[in-house]
Symmetry: C2
Subunit: 405 residues, 2 copies
């Protein structure tokens, strides 16, 4: 009798710990006697029967996934609609699954991808083909509903807050009058920009202002706040989420595009803020656009994040083998001091296609800061340093050439 | 009899290891019975008699300088002209030095600051006041003449090359057609952009193109090279120095400013390149502007860089006490495999106000790459990982409150 077989896929933007979830899933499958295929390029590869055999890869290579940023199998933003909307995709999928005798599906992704997983949990009902589907959360944006935090967020938060603390020391060296703007990811939510606040051990330390998508941008209030910080601290370090919006809910970077530059867009929210400061105050600010660096920073992963990512993958496999389907492995916080958490089953219906913004109780009354409750929330997620092996002065990542099926 | 006394100052932009040179100087002074003052904010603070007493700070606090980015004493870009040009400054300086009985000066800075040190080495001749002056090299730009490399460069090179390798993994996950642009510092020289090349272990790995100030930017050749990399590798990661110029020697970011946007400047060379790709190829590239992150990255210092920075500070103090003046501690490379180096005395007249560009033998024939000789040059400078202590998930830098004199 051949082993039962699962297929694992990675979907959406990579994180520094996405591959740690793959490692957790694969190592657990090996222990449990489950054969594990991987789909290249997420749902796209699955639908096109582009699969690989993880069983043929050495334990040593799998162990390295703990350190490696990116998505080792390849990701895509290919989604799959409901049976009613996308019946052709469902039939193609049945062919692929049947061809390889796959009856377990692991979807490691963000809210859109987990929405697909939710729909595919109905596969047996619609297609008469037994398929168990379990989700593994992943996103640096931390916007997944149903889990206290998402694997990927803690390492990006650690990268950004470390950078903010370091730049704060650099700015302080340079004396009075400096303004620095660090643009973080976060198209709709401010979790990443907010994490920068962990860098400040007192009000003098960077960052001095946060600009969050959850708070409508008001230029007058912002400029007054910059004036205030420059007067009090001689400097102003700003963390701005790429997705800040004006009072009408329009992205400021889009407002810029239409009003100032026609169709030519350069830079994003960070440069837009710099432009505003130049025009209204004559201040020439430095801008860092961290871009992909903040989600690929495997040289300084959060140990907690890596561990949670691993355990989510592990638990997802155990649940599949226990016959569960239509659920995601979620993180439940039990307490803050000391941080204590557990894994819980979350129905995919709760998670899919939803978005969790920073709640009001995490945002400071001035709209430019976070509350102590948020700092209690974020700190444990950045805890511990997961440093990869280095060779010739650089992180020694060794991409796996997954053997095609 | 009171101890002889030196004053140490930091000048120009900070680096991740500038404070390691301060540590080397201070610890050596303690061993040798030399009293060491520091000047706040470089030459500005020295001329204004804003000094601090490093002797009053604990050994434990001094030891932490090894890890701390920024310039702990504060920096400025204040320079001092020749005696003929700036006699008032020289007279003010004599008053300050005499008031504190200081007869030794340590200038830790880049080419402009070391030019000042060169002029001040003539202090006794012009002012009749005995003053020994020794320089300690510092710059992430690596553009100092007279030393094989400059402390500060290795750590920035390590940060940038690590980031490029990590982003390369992220891009590879996302499949075909991606273009990523990382803008590095380097207004006149390409040492930092070139260092990114160390990330690639083969031609498929990022970066695929380097844009260096030493090679005039040619849009047609560049676009053809992007087309080629996309066709061959499905992606194109580009490291661009902020100071690339066109055939007339104008900065492309300035050309942009005048021709396209009037007086409003957003972004720099990286965004200018992105704009070009959008206009000429319809490619929407991601841009990272690393900005201060690349020179403040104390969370991942190069051990070799930290060590060299320390030894430069140590040796400068020993030379002062041996009666030397008008020299800088320079690094002399003895061999590459294994890397072997020594310290040598370099006359400040060789160093001051000069600039070392990437030599032709380090630039690939296509103008978009570096040679194996450059990789042999840069790799040892990034060697070893100097990780600071962490607390609550972040680097635990503890700024020193230097006691004012």
């Amino acid at each position: 009798m051949s082993k039962p077989r699962a297929v694992y896929l990675q979907s959406g933007g990579p994180t520094a710990v996405l591959n740690a979830s793959a490692q957790g899933a694969i190592e657990t499958a090996r222990k449990r006697g489950l054969s594990m295929y991987g789909a290249f390029d997420g749902l796209a590869g699955l639908l096109e029967d582009r699969l690989c055999d993880t069983d043929a890869v050495s334990d040593e290579a799998i162990a390295q996934l703990a350190f490696m940023p990116g998505g080792s199998f390849g990701v895509s933003r290919r989604m799959i609609g409901s049976f009613a909307e996308a019946g052709d995709d469902w039939r193609r999928l049945r062919e692929v699954l049947a061809r390889h005798d796959i009856h377990y599906l692991l979807v490691n992704g963000g809210n859109g991808s987990l929405g697909c997983a939710e729909r595919l949990a109905e596969f047996e009902r619609h297609m008469g083909y037994p398929l168990k589907v379990v989700g593994i959360p992943k996103t640096i944006d931390n916007d997944l509903v149903g889990t206290d935090n998402s694997p990927g967020y803690g390492s990006s938060a650690k990268f950004l807050a470390s950078a903010m603390r370091e730049v704060g020391l650099d700015m302080t060296s340079m004396g009075w009058g400096r303004v620095f703007i660090m643009e973080t990811m976060g198209r709709h939510t401010g979790w990443l920009a907010a994490a920068c606040a962990a860098a400040a051990r007192n009000e003098r330390e960077a960052p001095h202002l946060l600009l969050l998508p959850e708070v409508a941008f008001d230029a007058e209030r912002f400029l007054a706040a910059v004036d205030d910080r420059l007067a009090r601290f001689g400097q102003c370090a700003i963390a701005v989420a790429e997705g800040i919006t004006d009072a009408d809910g329009r992205f400021v970077a889009e407002a810029k595009k239409s009003e100032v530059y026609g169709h030519e867009q350069l830079g994003g929210a960070g440069h837009w803020i710099a432009q505003l400061l130049l025009r209204e105050r004559g201040i020439s600010a430095h801008v860092a656009q961290v871009d992909y660096l903040q989600r690929a920073g495997g040289h300084l992963g959060s140990s907690m994040d890596v561990r949670q990512a691993y355990i989510m993958g592990e638990r997802a496999v155990e649940w599949l083998l226990a016959g569960k389907s239509g659920v995601m492995a979620g993180i439940k916080r039990i307490q803050n001091h000391p941080y204590c958490w557990d894994v819980e089953e979350v129905p995919l219906a709760v998670v899919g296609d939803q978005e969790k913004r920073l709640p009001p109780e995490y945002i400071g009354a001035d709209g430019f800061s976070v509350t102590p409750a948020f700092l209690d929330y974020v700190r444990p997620l950045m805890e511990g340093e997961r440093i990869p092996p280095f060779k010739d002065g650089l992180p020694d990542y060794r991409p796996i050439a997954w053997p095609k099926v």
